[in-house]
């Protein structure tokens, strides 16, 4: 049989290698996505099923668990408390961290080194250990805030401080901050007005990205909430923990609801931030 000279002798093996390379990467990505999404998918299916025993698929589907959940006053109150604490923490963080980052980068750039050390401290301390310290400090004495949302506000602030500061610091480093401020001042703006009109809008995207991340993190925070406030200020995660011995379908509906709300809020904020 004559050789097929119309095909380059090395083209077939190259095509095979390329095909395998592309499909290998797709396989890796698909496997990773499946690994991440499978537990969420399973939780979703479980929350929509009437009963799911030792069968591959549930016995039936309904929205009954969601209807029960969203008409439960205790759940709604816990959810509202979580939202309140998260929103309060984010607001406190914006008011403190944003001006602080600007002052560091504009007036005292040498302090950035010390700020980088400071923001590492929350990671150095396990939550359980720092909770013990907070309990001894604030259980009584001049500032007895254990069991109140105020201790959570302060505690959550330290948790999100590294995310917020780092995001702002990275953005401020990429801006020619001094030239921007000087240009604004030469055009008639005072330093505070230049910060509000020029620098803050330039920080918006980084700030919002850090806030979304922090919001998701805080909504799922359990250790500090359980140890510092417990049932005296029942957040969503405490409620979920307290409901653990009730129906798994019900708790799955709680998880999916909180997941969905966080997703929707983040999506709305992303659209708003464009």
């Amino acid at each position: 049989m004559a050789a097929d000279t119309s095909v380059h002798p090395t083209r077939a093996p190259l095509r095979g290698r390329r095909w395998r390379a592309i499909h290998y990467h797709q396989l890796v990505v698909a496997s990773l996505m499946a690994l991440l999404l499978l537990p969420i998918a399973a939780t979703l299916v479980y929350s929509l099923s009437n009963r799911w025993g030792a069968t591959i698929l549930p016995d039936g589907f309904s929205l009954g668990w969601y209807l029960q959940l969203w008409s439960e006053p205790r759940f709604l109150a816990a959810f509202a408390r979580s939202l309140l604490v998260c929103a309060g923490t984010l607001l406190l963080a914006i008011v403190i961290v944003v001006p602080a980052a600007f002052v560091v980068f504009y007036y005292y750039p040498k302090l950035d080194r010390w700020m980088n050390l400071l923001i590492l401290l929350p990671f150095a301390m396990p939550p359980v250990v720092s909770s013990v310290g907070l309990l001894s400090l604030y259980a009584d004495g001049t500032l007895p805030i254990i069991g109140t949302p105020w201790v959570l506000l302060g505690c959550y602030f330290t948790i999100i401080l590294p995310f917020l500061y780092r995001a702002l610091a990275n953005r401020l480093q990429s801006l020619d901050l001094h030239s921007l401020m000087e240009a604004a001042q030469l055009l008639g703006a005072s330093a505070p007005r230049a910060f509000l009109c020029v620098v803050l809008p330039a920080l918006r995207k980084s700030l919002f990205a850090a806030l979304f991340l922090s919001f998701s993190f805080l909504m799922g925070e359990f250790v500090f909430a359980n140890l510092l406030v417990g049932t005296r200020f029942e957040t969503l995660q405490i409620y979920l923990y307290n409901m653990r011995s009730t129906s798994g379908h019900y708790t799955s509906a709680v998880v999916m609801s909180y997941f969905l709300i966080t997703l929707i809020l983040t999506w709305i904020a992303t659209r708003f931030n464009r």
């Binding site: 020619d176 030239s179 921007l180 240009a183 055009l187 005072s190 020029v198 330039a202």
Partner: protein
């Protein structure tokens, strides 16, 4: 009376003097260039004039009023930065309108003024573009429009063209000069590029190590450098020592003798003329620069590039002459 006066101005950073006891007067409508190598203090002087740096000593006056301690936003000075400093989250028209917004002008007046500026700097059609969508030349024109729209009394430009390629730079500096003349705006331009200084300025102020070494028209600085530094910085002067001047030209000088390359004429060898031997040449476009060994002294000689066939080869013997008025004694 001068429009802008700098009196006994001194500034130092970390104990090191940047400039000391500087004195300079700028006339109304004048285009002044502060020229000098990096680190000579020209940008720091500009920043002191703008109010962005506080001088340690001395005074600044504008239109008879002392402005030494006035904050930048109250001086009525516009500035164009080397890095453009465009506000990244604003469109071109928002950038240009910023100063008018700070002045509290109505939106319709802002829009009208912005449109005029956009046409002046030839950016029509780019009003809604963001800074990162613009080329370097376009960004610089936005920065210029933004500084001009608030009708400053004095315009400062801190090496605004240094980040641009040669062709854009040439076009923009002509545009800057045309706009400055049209508006009659007193302007101070900082650069280390002598070509920019020579083509743009009514007057050049040459600085070196924090001092003004020479100030005058482009013509006077170029043809009559006052010092060895000026001769070395402006143009491509041949600097002959006293010994070399005596050997080659039979002339006694106290310091150095500066001769411009284009002042030396190349002629056929004759007994009465100075004789030299061509070492090599460089093609600089419309000019050919020869290096010629003349009794051990290497001279740079520029000739117009008229005919490639008549390039003088290396080793060629040539006669040289230079007119007496072209010789310049420097310290």
């Amino acid at each position: 009376m001068s429009f802008f006066e700098i009196q006994n101005l001194s500034k130092q950073y970390a104990g090191r003097p940047v400039f000391q006891d500087l004195e300079l007067n700028i006339g109304s409508g004048e285009f002044i260039t502060l020229l000098g190598p990096s680190g000579c203090g020209k940008s720091t002087l500009l920043r002191c004039m703008a109010g962005l740096s506080r001088p340690d000593q001395g005074s600044l006056f504008m239109a008879g009023e002392e402005i030494t301690h006035l904050p930048p936003q109250k001086r009525g000075i516009g500035m164009v930065f080397q890095s453009y400093a465009l506000f990244p989250n604003m469109t071109v028209q928002q950038n240009i309108a910023f100063g008018l917004r700070m002045q509290g002008l109505s939106l319709s007046k802002q829009h009208q003024a912005v449109q005029e500026m956009v046409e002046l700097v030839e950016l029509t059609g780019k009003e809604l573009a963001m800074p990162d969508e613009l080329s370097g030349g376009q960004k610089q024109r936005v920065a210029l429009a933004r500084a001009l729209v608030v009708r400053p009394r004095l315009l400062l430009l801190d090496e605004p063209l240094s980040a641009l390629d040669a062709r854009i730079r040439r076009h923009l500096r002509e545009q800057i000069r045309a706009i400055q003349q049209r508006l009659g705006l007193t302007t101070v331009f900082v650069t280390h590029d002598q070509e920019e200084a020579l083509t743009l300025s009514d007057r050049i102020v040459l600085m070196h190590e924090g001092k003004i070494v020479q100030a005058g028209s482009a013509e006077s600085l170029y043809t009559r450098p006052a010092s060895r530094f000026a001769a070395q910085f402006i143009g491509q002067f041949n600097l002959l020592t006293a010994t070399e001047a005596l050997t080659l030209l039979g002339r006694t000088v106290n310091g150095h003798l500066a001769i411009r390359p284009e002042s030396i004429t190349l002629d056929p060898v004759t007994p009465s003329k100075l004789k030299g031997r061509v070492l090599d040449h460089q093609l600089l476009g419309n000019v050919i620069r020869y290096r010629i060994d003349c009794r051990g002294v290497i001279l740079k000689v520029d000739a117009l590039n008229r005919d490639a066939a008549n390039l003088l080869p290396a080793g060629h013997e040539i006669g040289l002459s230079v007119a007496e008025p072209e010789l310049c004694e420097v310290a």
